[in-house]
């Protein structure tokens, strides 16, 4: 079983692209948290998380995004998720987290 | 009767020197081969700790031979960073899980007496002894 998650950060001024690939579950979520949370503490930063190559995410992953969102509000940064695969998007819809986290509404691949 | 001798630990090679001196002292006072090997292993652990974490320090041997005890006392002393959480370092599995060897719990097992005094940013002194049976 693939339990790896790759995290790549591309900085363009205040825009921070975090490109993820792999699976986000109880094993890899701590790594994501470690990478994502410090970015949300930069005031004025605009963080774009690209989930195009994330084929699985469980509720632990949602938890990381919730704490990241709380942190952006505290520190004056922004968080946006883009290119979600259907299964991942469904998780955000069921939990209604798409109503509080900014999620790119374009279908995967269309950008 | 007391006689004290020390080995300075500055490089990895000095670990061997400390083992050798410790083993000679142990043989002198009458430890058998198994206990000699145990004492040498304990010295290795103490000396390697100094070499890895403090950089330099020394290991001293005192032969104790009075009415109550007959044995070898080993004191490992350094002026290194000290141990922040001694209880954690003394816990089984703490150093072995990182593949660093038997660690301080190992030394405690090999010897009959064991005590650590450590202050952060000042250094560490470990006193340990084994008695001839």
């Amino acid at each position: 079983m693939n339990i790896n998650l790759n995290v790549e950060l591309v900085e363009q001024g205040t825009t921070l692209h975090l490109v993820l690939s792999g699976e986000i579950d109880a094993y890899t979520a701590p790594k994501l948290k470690e990478e994502l949370l410090p970015l949300t503490k930069r005031a004025g930063a605009s963080i774009i998380v690209d989930l195009e190559n994330v084929n699985y995410m469980d509720s632990t992953g949602l938890g990381v995004f919730i704490s990241a969102l709380k942190s952006t509000k505290e520190h004056g940064s922004e968080l946006k998720l883009v290119q979600l695969q259907d299964r991942v998007r469904r998780l955000f819809e069921i939990t209604s987290l798409d109503s509080i986290i900014s999620i790119d509404s374009t279908v995967r691949g269309g950008n | 009767m007391e006689s004290k001798s020390c080995v300075h630990i500055r490089q990895e090679w000095d670990i061997v020197g400390a083992r050798q001196l410790g083993r000679e002292r142990a043989k002198e006072i009458g430890f058998g081969t198994v206990d000699q090997a145990r004492i040498a292993t304990a010295i290795s652990e103490l000396a390697r700790n100094i070499y890895l974490y403090a950089g330099t320090g020394k290991i001293c041997f005192t032969i104790i031979d009075d009415l109550e005890h007959k044995g070898l006392q080993i004191i490992a002393k350094d002026d290194g960073p000290g141990i922040r959480d001694i209880s954690q370092v003394m816990e089984d599995g703490y150093s072995t899980s990182g593949g660093l060897g038997a660690g301080l719990p190992g030394v405690k097992r090999l010897m009959d007496y064991f005590d650590v005094i450590s202050e952060v940013n000042k250094g560490t002194e470990i006193r340990t002894a084994k008695w001839v049976r």
């Binding site: 509720s59 632990t60 987290l97 | 599995g93 049976r133």
Partner: protein, 337 residues
């Protein structure tokens, strides 16, 4: 030293016997010697030592190189001896921890236990199985004797194991402390959301579905806090319909509002509630789709409700090689009048 001396005698005889006969019996005795040594915490270097001593007694003119090489082996065994002793201590600690956790698990079971109530015209089946010793799933029934209504809560805490179980106990106690007049699904979720938001780690959240059935007007009112959608089973058409209810998970923001929905329940129809341990069943690299789950439920839906949930559980248990990755909870409520 006394016992080792005694053992030396024994060992020397065994060794002698073996050197003369090359017999399997002596080797078998050596095995027993080794087991006995372990029972008495005799370390490997001591056995090597006993071997050297026995050999020297049997062969007084042992070549020096052999003697030295055996001493070399003794040195090499010291660290193995230490590792073995450490292992023994850790194993003991592990069993202490295990029994502590099972005490906690039994406490949780008592704390969260719920009784399936007898409600006029309803048949209830419920099963909840933890992936580990402690569960992060929870379901609870509240029957009101005055007006015959039934409250049903089903919830899932993010993650599993002990942290999830602790959070669940908190939820249960908050619910118990709400006034009895407070039975409105949307109001209950709004109150719980505030409790969770204030009291748990920012990355922790809980999903919950809360429903209230009133047999007097045969109405089921409900609200959902981001919980895995359940199903309404139309018995006449033999069809499942997803129960739609939108609402944010508990603990994500301080002020969350929950929309309350209502529907009439017809005779023989069912309400099916579950946690994502059911829908997140994995088969190797593949997930079981919701349609497949419905097929399984459909197979057993005509059984009495309790039997049906148990059969569905057994089906998925078998499918996943009897090892669930997540807590599993399934409730079926059938209206039979």
């Amino acid at each position: 030293m006394e016992t080792i001396r005694l053992d030396l005698e024994n060992y020397r005889n065994l060794l002698k016997e073996y050197l003369v006969t090359k017999d399997e019996t002596a080797l078998y005795r050596a095995e027993q010697f080794s087991k006995l040594s372990m029972q008495h915490n005799v370390s490997p270097e001591e056995i090597v030592h006993v071997h050297i001593e026995a050999l020297k007694e049997l062969y007084p003119d042992l070549p020096e190189a052999v003697d030295d090489s055996l001493n070399f082996l003794l040195e090499a065994m010291i660290s193995y001896g230490l590792a073995y002793q450490e292992f023994t201590t850790l194993r003991q600690k592990q069993s202490e921890l295990k029994s502590e956790i099972s005490v906690a698990a039994r406490m949780q079971e008592t704390l969260l236990s719920t009784v399936k109530p007898d409600i006029r015209g309803l048949e209830i089946g419920a099963i909840s199985v933890a992936a580990n010793q402690m569960s992060g799933d929870y379901y609870h029934f509240v029957a009101d004797k005055d007006d015959d209504t039934l409250g049903i809560a089903i919830a899932d805490v993010i993650g599993k194991g002990i942290p999830a179980a602790l959070a669940m106990s908190m939820i249960k106690y908050s619910m118990d402390s709400f006034p009895e007049s407070q039975r409105n699904p949307s109001a209950i979720l709004e109150n719980l959301n505030r409790v969770v938001e204030r009291n748990v780690d920012p990355s922790m959240f809980i999903t919950m579905f809360y429903g209230l059935y009133n047999p007097n007007n045969e109405t089921f009112s409900y609200a959902s806090a981001g919980h895995e959608p359940g199903f309404y089973y139309h018995s006449r058409k033999n069809e499942f319909e997803e129960i739609e209810a939108r609402g944010l998970v508990l603990g994500a923001t301080e002020q969350a509002k929950y929309k309350q929905y209502e529907r009439k329940i017809k005779k023989d129809d069912c309400i099916i509630l579950l946690t994502d341990g059911v829908t997140e069943c994995r088969l190797g690299d593949r997930f079981i789709e919701r349609d497949e789950i419905l097929e399984v439920i459909q197979t057993y839906i005509d059984l009495p409700a309790q039997e049906a949930v148990e059969q569905v559980y057994k089906h998925f248990e078998r499918l996943q090689d009897f090892h669930f990755r997540d807590d599993f909870t399934l409730i079926i409520i059938r209206k039979n009048v």
